[in-house]
Amino acid sequence: MSGNIQLLSDTLAGAKAEGRSALIAYLPAGFPTVDGGIAAIKAVFVGGADVVEVGLPHSDPVLDGPVIQTADDIALRGGVRIADVMRTVREAFAATGKPVLVMTYWNPIDRYGVERFTAELAEAGGAGCILPDLPVQESALWREHAEKHGLATVFVVAPSSKDARLAEITAAGSGFVYAASLMGVTGTRESVGNQAQDLVARTKATTELPVCVGLGVSNAEQAAEVAGFADGVIVGSAFVKRMLDAPDEAAGLEAVRELAADLAKGVRTRA
């Protein structure tokens, strides 16, 4: 079966038609357990997320701050495998009918096999992949297989990206463009900063793809601020932190559902 890139595009277009930004949530697979992770994804969808990114936990998450590192550690110590990531995608999609992507460092796919990974992700109902350490120059093989299986290729752009490079990246990407709001790793921040708005404007000058902003957004006020200039607001560490801080799994699920509901209001407010 073909992947759900079209569902992703339709979902983002639907949010735009409603005059709002989309809410995109990130949660790692296998955290705190595989079933617990699936329940958490369902909870953020119930709370109001439009799209979910499922993190593939990695031993060496060089682009992640302490919160996601901790969750990845818990997941890996729990023995999470790529098959569990696929099951997470399958069950989250089957239960909600909403777009589910995978976010992963490149080495696990490289080792697992690009064809095998893309075929399995499409079969599970996945919509695509975000590949934060695969530069566009090294991405030809991935894109060939992603396209064949109907999966989006979401590239990350950064405030340091020059205009010519932005054009090169957005021409190769599909689904949406992930704009990093700041120079740094994942984690919650006091403020989102003004680099993000400039980056979104420069990115939009190169593409018709939706541009979604991630890194540092943790509450409804920040979400509203970002929603003022971006097509989507991506929140990761704040969800993971709610789960880490919760006294038990049920409280964690309730906490992430609440946060998703708050953020969903934020993306409809537009500061």
Binding site: H58, S59, D60, P61, V62, L63, G65, Q69, L76, R81, I82, W106, N107, P108, I109, D110, R111, Y112, P132, D133, L134, P135, Q137, E138, F155, V156, V157, A158, P159, S160, S161, K162, R165, I169, A180, M183, G184, V185
Partner: protein, 430 residues
């Protein structure tokens, strides 16, 4: 006048413009670092073409580092190697005590040229950290060193040296708390501070241009050794031997000998407790191609691409990756790589100390143990150059515990044998 000590690869066939050594290398980095890494490449190309850069670096290498380093014949040590002649390239005699200073001075000059004011670096054994802290003191640069928490304990002396030199040392507590995790943390810092910070990478791994640039700064080791051995022995060696962690001292020694087909290039990887135990860091012996820290090379990993935790008694070799040019040399057959256990390295460390009055770093002792084997294979007509990449002062605590040299009754890992200079060497150097 051509540069005498800064001698980049004159051939320049590898890497390719995209940074590939055959199937290995490349640039697998987050978008946030692309501009900075490209800037390093552009600035390095400009520096290579600028006689003023070479003049400045040469001046430092002579008057600050103390180049050229000696080539010392070690006949009493060589008696244990089947009678082959063994010469040591004495990078341990460089200022700061290892080969690392060659690369550090080059990149520190580059940092100044890029107008950056802060330097970060990873370190395993602390030798690269000490060299980096030294160069930062010399050039007035702010300096932060990332070091795995386990390594800060086993190389405490070097932590003190770095702090004495004015560097901030951050103990990294994530993952295996060794070199790989120090590199992860340095990358995280770099992404956040890239506008004014240069990541002074310490080995021939990482994204292009680091593998080629760091190699070029260390090429002087082999260029000197080749000239010196021709003067001293009247011929090229049968083998050039070096220890391999990330691979910088090895590529430095090997590179000038690559066109000399009769010279075997032998890298000694850390086998830890033995490759068969799983507790080792023998990347080329037991790894598979993959991506770690910005380039494709052999990597210790599981079948789903998770990096496995390495182990070696030597902090400087305790790394699950390897520079891409070594992977290229392995697959092309030009390089040979073998694994040396903790025990064999420690025995070689003691043997060199007691036969020649030279205490090597535990890293370099892996090369010495390899040379003892290679010597026996070559027989008495053999001629070997070993890169003595660093001195052992920093390792005295580990060695004292290993051999029971303290007076406090701490049990030795092996029985101390003060009367026999070659204790345990026979069965162990395998």
């Amino acid at each position: 006048m051509p540069s005498e000590f800064f001698i980049p690869d004159p051939d320049g066939q590898v890497p390719s413009a995209e940074g590939y050594f055959g199937a290995f290398g490349g640039k697998f980095i987050p978008e946030a670092l692309v501009a900075a890494v490209d800037e390093v490449a552009v600035e390095y190309d400009k520096a290579k073409a600028d006689p003023e850069f070479a003049r400045e670096l040469d001046d430092l290498l002579v008057h600050y580092t103390g180049r050229p380093s000696s080539l010392t014949e070690v006949p009493r040590f060589a008696e244990h190697a089947g009678g082959a002649r063994i010469f040591l390239k004495r990078e341990d005699l460089n200022h700061t005590g290892s080969h690392k200073i060659n690369n550090v001075l080059g990149q520190a000059l580059l940092t100044k040229r890029m107008g950056k004011t802060r330097v970060i670096a990873e370190t395993g054994a602390g030798q690269h950290g000490v060299a980096t802290a030294t160069a930062c003191a010399l050039f007035g640069l702010e300096c932060t060193i990332y070091m795995g928490e386990i390594d800060t304990q086993r190389q405490a002396l070097n932590v003190a040296r770095m702090r004495m030199l004015g560097a901030e040392v951050i103990a990294v507590k994530s993952g295996s708390r060794t070199l790989k995790d120090a590199i992860n943390e340095a990358f995280r810092d770099w992404v956040a501070n890239v506008d004014h910070t240069h990541y002074l990478f310490g080995t021939v791994a990482g994204p292009h241009p680091f593998p080629a640039m760091v190699r070029d700064f260390h090429r002087v080791i082999g260029v000197e050794a080749r000239r010196q051995i021709l003067e001293r022995a009247g011929r090229l060696p049968d083998a050039a031997v070096a220890c391999v962690g990330g691979g910088s001292n090895a590529i430095g020694l090997f590179h000038a000998f690559i066109p000399d087909e009769g010279v075997r290039l032998i890298g000694c990887e850390p086998a830890g407790h033995g490759v068969e135990t799983g507790e080792h860091a023998a990347t080329l012996t037991a790894g598979e191609p993959g991506i770690l820290h910005g380039s494709r090379s052999y990597v210790l990993q599981d079948e789903e691409g998770q990096i496995t935790e390495p182990y070696s008694i030597s902090a400087g070799l305790d790394y699950p990756g390897i520079g891409p040019e070594h992977s290229y040399l392995k697959d092309s057959g030009r390089g040979e790589y073998r694994a040396v256990t903790d025990d064999a390295a420690m025995q070689a460390l003691r043997l060199l100390s007691r036969t020649e009055g030279i205490i090597p770093a535990i890293e370099s002792a892996h090369a010495l143990a390899g040379a003892l084997e290679v010597g026996k294979e070559l027989g008495k007509d053999g001629l070997i150059v070993v890169n003595l990449s660093g001195r052992g002062d920093k390792d005295m605590d580990t060695a004292a515990r290993y051999f029971g040299l303290y007076d406090d009754g701490v049990d030795a890992v092996v029985a101390a044998d003060a009367d026999s200079e070659n204790a345990e060497i026979e069965g162990d150097a395998k």
